[in-house]
Symmetry: C2
Subunit: 256 residues, 2 copies
C-alpha cells in the first residue's frame, strides 16, 4: 500500500535562480492531496472499502504535516469519497459517494441559490417525474406494484384516522422513482422532495382536502402502471403534479 507519492508542486519553494521557471506552486497542499487521492479512486487504484494509511503515515508519504493531511481528508469526506472512523483499526475508508450525500449538495443548491425559484424547482421535478413514467411502466414488477398499492391503502387509512402527512405523499413519489430501477434518476429526484415538503406543508393547511384527492390520484396512477398504460399513467401523473405546481406558484405569487 504505497501508492501515494510525495505531493509535488506545493512546497512553496524559495528557489532562487537555479531550476528556473519551474513550479508556480499555486494550489493549497491539502487540495493537491485531495486531487491525488481522488485520481487514485477514479483510476480504480483505490476501491470502495479499502483503507487509506493512517494520518501519520500519510504525513510521511506526502511530506506534509498532519494538519494538512487532515484538511484533505475533511474535503474528501465532505465529498463523500471517504469516511473516517476513530479508534484502533480506524482511519479513512474509501466509500462510493452515497446518493444521500450528493443529494444534500443538490438540495443545498436548490434551496440556497437565489437564482433558483420555487417554480423552477417544481418544473424540474415535473420533467423528471414525468420522464420516468414510461420506464416505470416497463420495469415495475408485480411485487413493486403491489407495494405501491399497499402504500395507497396505508394512506387511505391514515386519512381516515386523520394522520396523513405530506411525508407519506413524498414517500410514494420516491418509491415510484425507485421503480425506474435507475440509480442515477433516483439520486437526481431525491433532493427535490425535502424543499417541496416544506413548501407544501403550509399549502396543506390551506387545503386539507388535498391529501385525499392526492391519494386517489396516486391509486389511479398505480392502476395505469399495472395496466402498462403509458399514456394514461403519464396523464394522471401530469395532472397530479401540475395541481401541486399550481399551488406552489400561488404561494410564491402570494409571497410577492
Amino acid at each position: 500500500m504505497n501508492r501515494p507519492g510525495p505531493v509535488p508542486a506545493t512546497n512553496t519553494a524559495h528557489r532562487d535562480t537555479d531550476d528556473l521557471f519551474n513550479p508556480v506552486s499555486l494550489a493549497r497542499a491539502s487540495q493537491a492531496i485531495v486531487d491525488q487521492i481522488r485520481e487514485l479512486i477514479q483510476d480504480g487504484q483505490l476501491t470502495a472499502g479499502e483503507r487509506l494509511p493512517s494520518e501519520r503515515d500519510l504525513c510521511d508519504r506526502f511530506g506534509v504535516s498532519r494538519v494538512t493531511v487532515r484538511e484533505a481528508l475533511r474535503i474528501l469526506e465532505a465529498g463523500g469519497l471517504v469516511t473516517v472512523k476513530v479508534g484502533a483499526r480506524g482511519g479513512a475508508y474509501i466509500t462510493t459517494p452515497s446518493s444521500d450525500r450528493i443529494g444534500r449538495g443538490i438540495e443545498d443548491y436548490l434551496t440556497m441559490s437565489p437564482s433558483i425559484t420555487a417554480v423552477e424547482v417544481t418544473e424540474a421535478r415535473l420533467v423528471l417525474e414525468l420522464g420516468i413514467v414510461p420506464i416505470v411502466c416497463e420495469r415495475a414488477t408485480e411485487a413493486d406494484i403491489a407495494g405501491l398499492l399497499a402504500m395507497c391503502d396505508e394512506a387511505d387509512a391514515a386519512i381516515a384516522a386523520g394522520t396523513y402527512t405530506m411525508e407519506m405523499s413524498a414517500d410514494f413519489h420516491i418509491t415510484v422513482a425507485r421503480l425506474a430501477h435507475n440509480g442515477a434518476i433516483e439520486m437526481l429526484l431525491g433532493p427535490f422532495h425535502r424543499p417541496m415538503l416544506t413548501s407544501l406543508k403550509a399549502a396543506r393547511e390551506a387545503a386539507p382536502a388535498m391529501g385525499k384527492v392526492g391519494v386517489k390520484e396516486h391509486r389511479r396512477f398505480v392502476h395505469a402502471v399495472r395496466d402498462r398504460d403509458v399514456p394514461k399513467a403519464t396523464e394522471v401523473m401530469k395532472a397530479h403534479l401540475e395541481r401541486t405546481a399550481s399551488r406552489v406558484q400561488q404561494r410564491s405569487k402570494a409571497k410577492t
Copy 2:
C-alpha cells in the same frame, strides 16, 4: 457581526456524577461549527457576499482552536457554501453554491459509484434532455435560436476542416439545456456531459462519420424549435440521443 455563539455540545466534558445523564457529546467540533454556520446561511442570517470573521476571531467565538475552525471552513468550502481568500481583506465569504461545484459532486457519483452503469446514465440523460424539449420550444427566443444555428454553422465548418470535436457536440446540448431558462435543470444536466464525452470519444474513432450525421440532426432540431413544433423536435432529439445511447450500450457490451 457577533452571530456565532460558542459551540455547545462538543467540549467532551469529564463531568462526573453531577449534571447526570445529560450530554452525550457525539459530534466532531468541526462538524458542529459547520452545522451552525450552515443553519445561519439557510435562515438567511448570513447572505451571499458577506464575510465571516477571520479564523482567529472565529476561534474565540466558538471557543475552539484554529485547526478546528479551519477544518470546518474546508468542509463548508467543499460544499460550495463559502470561498476562502488569502491576504488582507481575505477570509471566508459566503457564496451561493455554484452549479459547477454541485455538478462535480453529481459527476463523481455518476462516474465512481459502481452501482451506476453507463446505460443508466444514458437513460437519465435521455429523460432530462427529452423532458426539456417542450420547455425549450416554448421559451427559446429568436436570439437563442439564431445562436444555435450559428453553432451548427461552426460545426459544419469544423467538419469540413476536419477539426470537429465531441466537445462541440456537448456544447450544443448544454446550450440547448440553457434555453429552458431553468437553473435547476441546467445544474442537473451539466454533469452528464463529461462522462458522456469520455465514453464517446472512443466511439467516434470507430465511426468518424458520426459527427456529420450528428450536426445534421442538431440543425433539424433547431428548425423544429424555431417552428415551435414540439412533437417534431422531440422526435428528432429522441432519435439523435438514442443513436448515441445504442453506441454506449454497444461499448459496454463490448467491454463485457
